[in-house]
Amino acid sequence: MTATVSPSSAGPMLRRGRSGEDVLLRVAVTGGALAILGMLATLVLVLFVAALPSMRRFGPAFLFSSEWRPNALPVLKLDGHGHTIRDPRTAMKVVDHYRAPAFGAGASLFGTVATSTWALLLAVPLSLGAALFLVRIAPVWLVPFVSFLIEFLAAIPSIAYGLWGMFVLGPWMGGPARWVRVLGMQLPAGIESRIGALAIHVPGLRWICTTSVGGKTVLVPPTGRDIFVAGIILGIMIVPIITAISRDVLRSVPREQMEGTIALGATWWQSCREMIFYCRSALFGAILLGLARAAGETMAVLMVMGNTAAVPTSPFMAGTTLSATLAGEFPEAATSDLQRGALMEVALILLVMSLVFNIVARYLVIGKWQPSAATAH
């Protein structure tokens, strides 16, 4: 029996054949590798099967419908004169028939997209800027220190962010009227509401500060639990990932590239732009990884978002995301098969989303550089 030549142990190998312990170890490690494949397969399979009833029932409309109605809505019975009839036992009106419960991931999907967008808007400039700082500006002794601090942000558990957002950032932000507050000084309530009333008339602010309720345009109440705050928290959370990968990607740009541009008389910023352009696909991959993390985040969003199953019309309104809906509604899904199926479908959507982001991102980043386990999780 010949021994296999493996690249990691190239060189002269004694033809000893495979001994017992070799076989044992080989089986063990192959088992480990297969386990990993099995884990992904199990995940996808179990969720798919669990979501089937809901998928069959609602079809592709599930993705777009923002209706999340666990209970059936009645259509009232009318007597001969067209009046409703009162039931003495329940004191409600007698029902003719019900419109069946309907679920749709539309609101959750919108929330996920909205919060992730805000998160990226915040995180991408900060991360790229910091990455450029680390690679092109900072003196050598400063780099490990600052990188270390940025990675600290990644180590903080998400529930800590949620708590901070819920008790510190949220109350401080409290909606558009409160933005007039300068560093904690509170304006008298009358002035705040008057400024808010003005906002209705300014075309740009109108969209964010107001919402339409029953046909009337109304100022969004300042609760501090909304999409925007969730977006900020998520942004802070994904900064370390994007920064770390971007830093390593930018570092791997060959010297000649940079020296070439400088020789041509480019300014510092222009050569930076060249660098970014050079590894744009890998940087895009880094951003996608950050996006994947933001989309999948549960606890921080759950605690900071207000959790209403409706599509918010202003970023200062409460909403929900795929993961928050999942976490919030799961406890009671045991009582309704349809609801549980719908939640499984939400989980499946979340899984597919994160898989797609991750796969595309790895594909983009892997071409130029391998993400290290210590930086991207």
Partner: protein, 331 residues
């Protein structure tokens, strides 16, 4: 033994659990307040030994329970009141509200505090010109069930657009988790209005509105006015042969219109537990709840069960069995 469910009775169940635990040192009772929906779910998939819920089992849940473990015993343990609490710091005086007006607020049709509909109920109050922020429960909640059921009796529009249930889709407003969550949201947001249980409002010193009942009176919520509603319900218990009757929207002098029972639930035959001692402990605990336990109700701002209700509950408890053998209370 493990119980869970409604957050409304959580304070008194914790009290009962520790008092009962002192009398029976070999019994440990754990009750977790996660919402009535979670409690019922836990009972059905048997991850909980007993459940607490402000809402009785609906048809779907009852059918499910019957499939997994047989019939379910649902007994009222205490009564309470769902109150409309609000955050209007500068308001001088007590706010008066009526069912239809509250329904319109939570439907989003009344959006400002100085709306004419609210003004007409409170002619002597100066109402501020700020938006109303309606706060509701975001998880499956018995308090939700009670409140929405009440609003359905007050407004056809509410019944057809939102209907009642432990979870409903609210057209507007902000969601919060649990009675404590709503309380917190109320404290933080000026102009907020939310529905919570009376004891939470009292413990946190939050102003509540007087509600107009079916007889036209504006009644303040209290253990006494909730008990008055309980008395009115006895008739229905006999007429419909069930312990799960509605206490809301009842006419009568000094009757608070959004009163409710909260129920303790377990399977009628506890043989599936395989542990006779645990089954016995459940029965004993339920017995304790409706007898000695009632003594602490009023001081915790709950309404104790009346004598008539207690009798009927006792009869129901006597029907609990272990593999067919009746489990009677052992003093």
């Amino acid at each position: 033994m493990q119980g869970g469910g409604a957050t409304f009775p959580n304070p008194i169940y914790q009290q009962w659990a520790s008092d009962f635990g002192r009398q029976h040192p070999d019994v440990r009772i754990e009750y977790v307040g996660k919402g009535s929906g979670a409690g019922i779910g836990g009972l059905i998939d048997k991850t909980l030994d007993f459940a607490g819920s402000d809402a009785p089992l609906n048809d779907e849940e009852l059918a499910k329970a019957r499939r997994t473990g047989g019939d379910v015993v649902q007994i009222p343990s205490v009564a309470g009141a769902v109150v409309l609490a609000y955050n209007l710091r500068d308001l001088r005086g007590e706010l008066k509200l009526s069912g239809p007006v509250v329904a319109d607020i939570f439907l989003g049709r009344i959006t400002q505090w100085n709306d004419p509909a609210i003004k007409s109920l409170n002619p002597h109050l100066v109402l501020p010109d700020i938006p109303i922020c309606a706060v509701h429960r975001s998880e499956g909640s018995g308090t939700n069930f009670v409140f929405t059921s009440y609003l359905c009796t007050q407004s056809d529009e509410f019944q057809t657009q939102v209907n009642f249930g432990k979870t409903v889709r609210w057209p507007i407003g902000e969601g919060a988790q649990g009675n404590p969550g709503v309380t917190q949201a109320l404290e933080e947001t000026p102009g907020a209005i939310g529905y919570i249980e009376l004891n939470f409002a009292i413990d946190n010193n939050i102003p509540v509105a007087l509600m107009q009942n079916e007889s036209g009176e504006f009644v303040k919520a209290s253990p006494a006015t909730a008990s008055a509603a309980g008395e009115a319900a006895l008739v229905d218990m006999d007429r419909y042969k069930t312990l799960t009757v509605r206490l809301w929207a009842r006419p009568g002098p000094n009757v608070y219109p959004i009163s409710c029972f909260t129920y303790l639930m377990c399977y009628r035959d506890l043989g599936y537990l395989r542990d006779r001692q645990r089954a016995q402990a459940i029965v004993d605990f339920f017995w304790y709840a409706i007898h000695d336990g009632q003594d602490v109700a009023t001081e915790l701002a709950y309404a104790p069960l009346g004598q008539g209700v207690r009798q009927r509950v006792q009869q129901e408890l006597d029907t609990i069995t272990f593999n067919g053998q009746p489990l009677h209370h052992q003093p």
